[in-house]
Amino acid sequence: MDITFDHVSYTYQAGTPFAGEGLQDISVTIHDGSYTAIIGHTGSGKSTLLQHLNALLKPTSGTVTIGDRQITSETSNKNLKPLRQQVGMVFQFAENQLFEQTVARDIAFGPKNFGVPEAKANALAEQMVTLVGLPASVLSQSPFDLSGGQMRRVAIAGVLAMQPSVLVLDEPTAGLDPAGRRDMMQLFAKLHREQHLTVVLVTHQMDDVADYADHVLVMDHGRLVKTGTPREIFADPVWLTANQLGLPKTTQMAMALQRRGFKFAELPLTTSALAAALLPQLPVKAGERDE
């Protein structure tokens, strides 16, 4: 399911003295099956853009086309439910939204709300708990007895149980420890690969953008200022720094090596790419060279 923005602008509290530009003239398509990262500093409009992906916000002008549904300022709030099922939204600190007495009931809540019969919803809960890497034994536990990382997995399982085709993630690893972050990012990569979910990720972690995304949108002051592959985006370190955006650690290291005299045809984005690019420029113990 493609999501297309056509000249979308959004004004907060339009018509009041507090009116503020949220989005300005955004035109872009998020393609079915892609893994798109949205970057930009705090206040750049990333979250406002996200909320248009399932019509939580409607454009002040322009059109958002989600699959075969067109959303404009005129769209009625009725009949938006199917969109909310198709585009699953994992908010920041999603564990704060857990409320049920057991993990099973919390996960089953979403599908039941969308009219899935109880037995089917419960089966989905069991299936999703395994999918997010939790033991089936947590199903009967209170979500509030779990660790923070486990609670977040339950919240994500609840979104997956609605069987969306697009998964929207707003800084899903914030506040997790490094092992938790790694596991969480690998889970999304697996869902993207195996369940063919379209993934939209808002993040400040440039390493994650380099490692996982195939497309990047850069936001600044409510405008979409750059789009491209991670390679295209990170090829311009001067521009990124000027826009208060970081570089992947690999790229920073490659630049330090370059200043020292090493040569790279293009700046590598991942550790293995950097190691491979360095290899011909370093002495290697006899018989150990890979290629």
């Binding site: 705090t42 914030a174 420890d177 938790g180 290291m253 330090a256």
Partner: protein
């Protein structure tokens, strides 16, 4: 050197839990030292912090802060010496304006108004938030909020500041902002820092790293010593320093790399020297 914090054989167990959160923890922090405490979630780091200023009372063992034994009687004295900055900036505001919020702790201690105004002004200046004095805390960015929280602590001139994952909810710019602020504060006057963290850059700033696992201290060392763990660090609750990651990738491809820890600059130097031998 005098000890800022002296913890001896501390045990702590939360009510209705099967296992102790801290087991026989002994740790001395010298006055003016910066100690980072690392460990994965649930390893007992925050429990330890809360025992240092008496938010939790030890099951057994002792905590001595600035030479004073922590007891029910001394707890208020000790809290005046130890300020804690918590993880979530939104959970620690009480004032309607930034200045009110910074004044809250001082008011609580019954400080005369003229002295209080002076302290609030200088604390806000120290964290570069003077121009925000009359603003509403809720409308600040995450980094600014943590600055105000730190100003509230600075105003009380504590000898010890505990950062309990104080940068983990901030974006990279906000994180840098807070870390440079702590460095500036330490340059201005002696301040002991205990930082509980998962952030490799924050841990690297410490004089010493203490590694907790399942409520026990399993290792202490300089950042260079601890970072030698390489890929294992991630299971110990810390990220792997990038230089370590690249070193491992090169070693796998048959490049001779040293076993000792190198920071990024050190690795660049080493590789360039190696390249020059070709």
């Amino acid at each position: 050197m005098t000890q800022a914090i002296e913890i001896a054989h501390l045990n702590y167990q939360y009510p209705d839990t099967p296992r102790p959160a801290l087991r026989d923890v002994s740790l001395s922090v010298a006055s003016g030292e910066w100690v980072a405490i690392i460990g994965h979630n649930g390893s007992g780091k925050s429990t330890l912090a809360k025992n240092i200023n008496g938010l939790l009372a030890p099951g057994s063992g002792t905590v001595t802060v600035g030479g004073e034994l922590l007891t029910e009687e001394s707890v208020w004295d000790i809290r005046a010496k130890v300020g804690i900055v918590f993880q979530n900036p939104d959970n620690q505001f009480v004032g309607a304006t930034v200045a009110d919020d910074v004044a809250f702790g001082l008011e609580n201690r019954g400080m005369p108004r003229p002295e209080m105004i002076k302290r609030v002004d200088s604390a806000l200046a120290a964290v570069n938030m003077t121009e925000f004095a009359t603003r509403e805390p809720a409308r600040l960015s995450g980094g600014q909020k943590q600055r105000v929280a730190i100003a509230g602590i600075v105003a009380q001139t504590p000898d010890i500041i505990i950062l309990d994952e104080a940068t983990s909810m901030l974006d990279p710019a906000g994180r840098q902002e807070i870390l440079s602020l702590i460095r500036e504060l330490r340059a201005a006057r002696p301040l002991t820092v205990v930082s509980i963290t998962h952030d490799i850059d924050e841990a690297a700033l410490a004089d010493r790293i203490v590694l907790l696992n399942d409520g026990e201290i399993v290792e202490t060392g300089t950042p260079a010593e601890i970072f030698r763990h390489g890929e294992e660090l991630i299971d110990l609750g810390l990220d792997v320093p990038y230089a370590g990651r690249l070193k491992a990738a090169l070693a796998q491809r048959g490049v001779a790399v040293p076993a000792a820890y190198l920071d990024a600059e050190g690795l660049v130097d080493y590789l360039w020297t190696l390249h020059s031998t070709m």
